[in-house]
Symmetry: C2
């Protein structure tokens, strides 16, 4: 683990040239996702809004960018031994596909109660899924232990420089597509997407304000940002499941402090209303976490009249049965 310790020695582990290098690696592999706009949203917000639609990314979220970028850079020997991660969400599927493309055996540690559809999707990309009892086991410890025992390399969901650099290609593409922006809104779970996008923004459009968005119920990064001390949250009951991470990481926290201008939170009701608007008006399937950044603008937590605003829609992986319950009642 000496390598990991070294990585964290530098307080800012990623810079824009890492994102440029990631973009080259991803060029033939990741989708250059479309940028969408909506008259309704522009009228309602008074801004000119550009949605970067990562719900159309391979495996349904931006996570493929970071997973592939990290996996592709491993030495051959580590690739042959295999890679492990802990995730019940989008990173699992993303790493599984990256492993399939790069012929790297992937093991994913998931809680026993992870949705069957997510287990199946991860196995569908050829990964091995190891289930654990959430009440008895800490996933990070199980992952680390399995990695050591089996000689596997751990690629965590967000707290890794190559993962951050990969996620930053999302904002790079957005700026390349639409030019400078006044404001960029990015959802925040562990801070991988947020910090990567902030690095790209400050390099490509230095005047652009970058604001991270969390659920009110999972506001650890917002508190960490304002107090400059790492804060945590425990199993927050937000529908934005990608933002249930306990805290920013050793790699991402310093980057967020350095590159991000502010963090704000949105209510659960605001997330659902925004989700509904994206589905009904833009006709796209976005997952609750994917609607966080949009919610900040649509709920007027952030106001940006007459500004050019980028909004990252981070993913679109939903269980339609659950969504059905969400939308089935009146909101």
């Amino acid at each position: 683990m000496a390598e990991r310790a070294d990585l964290f020695a530098a307080s800012l582990a990623v810079n824009y040239s890492d994102i440029e290098a990631a973009a080259l690696r991803l060029k033939q592999q990741a989708h250059r996702t479309p940028v969408l706009s909506s008259r309704t949203v522009n009228q309602r917000t008074g801004a000119q809004v550009f949605f970067k639609a990562e719900n159309f990314q391979r495996t349904g979220s931006f996570k493929f960018r970071g997973a592939y970028n990290a996996l592709a850079q491993l030495p051959t020997e580590q690739k042959q031994r295999g890679v492990i991660t802990y995730s019940s969400g989008n990173h699992a599927q993303a790493l599984a596909l990256a492993g399939q493309l790069l012929a790297v055996p992937i093991t994913v540690v998931m809680p026993q109660d992870a949705p069957a559809v997510k287990q199946a999707a991860t196995r569908g990309y050829g990964a091995e899924v190891v289930l654990y009892d959430r009440a008895k086991v800490v996933r990070e410890e199980l992952g680390t232990s399995l990695a050591q025992t089996c000689g596997l390399t751990l690629i965590p969901p967000y707290d890794h420089p190559d993962v951050v650099a990969g996620q930053g290609t999302t904002a790079k593409e957005l700026f390349e597509a639409v030019g400078p922006l006044d404001l960029l809104l990015v959802c925040c779970g562990g801070g991988g997407l947020l910090s990567g996008c902030a690095i790209a923004a400050k390099s490509l459009a230095p005047a652009c304000q970058v604001i991270g968005v969390e659920p009110e119920l999972a506001d650890d990064a917002t508190r960490s940002f304002h107090s400059k001390q790492l804060q945590t949250v425990h199993n927050p009951n937000t529908i934005a499941d990608g933002a249930r991470t306990p805290c920013l990481g050793k790699v991402t926290f310093p980057l967020v402090l350095h590159y991000v201008d502010d963090l704000v939170t949105v209510s659960e009701g605001g997330i659902v209303r925004s989700l509904r608007l994206l589905w009904e008006r833009l006709k796209i399937v976005v997952e609750p976490t994917g609607a966080l950044a949009a919610a900040a603008l649509l709920e007027a937590v952030v106001q940006a009249p007459n500004q050019r605003v980028g909004v990252i829609l981070s993913g679109g992986n939903v269980d339609l049965s659950q969504m059905g319950q969400l939308f089935g009642g009146e909101i």
Copy 2:
């Protein structure tokens, strides 16, 4: 009504030059909707499938094309007097927006029990909505009566040459985007989209087979096509509400007979399964009628191994509360 009688005198009221003219009229007004593809769909069907995503069209369906094309060609005097239609669905919103853009007063006759969200959307584009009691009144008669009494021009939902020509621009754009196809699948309600697209297909790619797709529960056009006699259906209980029309029209039936190669039907379960796949895998919101053409391929009613297949996704206007109930249970 002498003009309408003249229009129907020619058995084939629309040709490809009408579609070319419609495309010019629509150029600055309609979206050139994207063409989507899906590895999952290609793998599952063995075909190379190109989805023309009219759910991203203005007002959420292809209907805007025909409505605008028809309205734009009215003489100034008729525009000033105003236009009326009967529709509780996508044509109402489409004509309402076209009226807003062309400064033509629009009246829409809707049943009292039409969903509030559709009434609101139609009013939102500035149209006047006249409600009637479905049990007591025949909408065509009310529409015609109001048109005569108030001097309004009637633009019906599908049985009008200019409407058909407008809808045909959908297929024109698809061929322009992806080149020749072996097969084109189009949903069929009143036959406006189907006949328009078939005319375009036979002109731009003469070898392309064109197949219309209906719900099993609303198979009037399929029976009409095979018997060559106009058949009807009464209030069919299909979730594909855009295909609940009683029969093909005087304009569309001859066109369908002349230009279309076959019509097939899909089950309600097949529609829901296809809808679910489009939402979950393509991450797009499509309405049940919009999934009909895809269902024919995905349910293997039509098989096209190694063929290049165009599929029109006709619209994306859904009531999420209803969809929630649909997807809320296991399918």
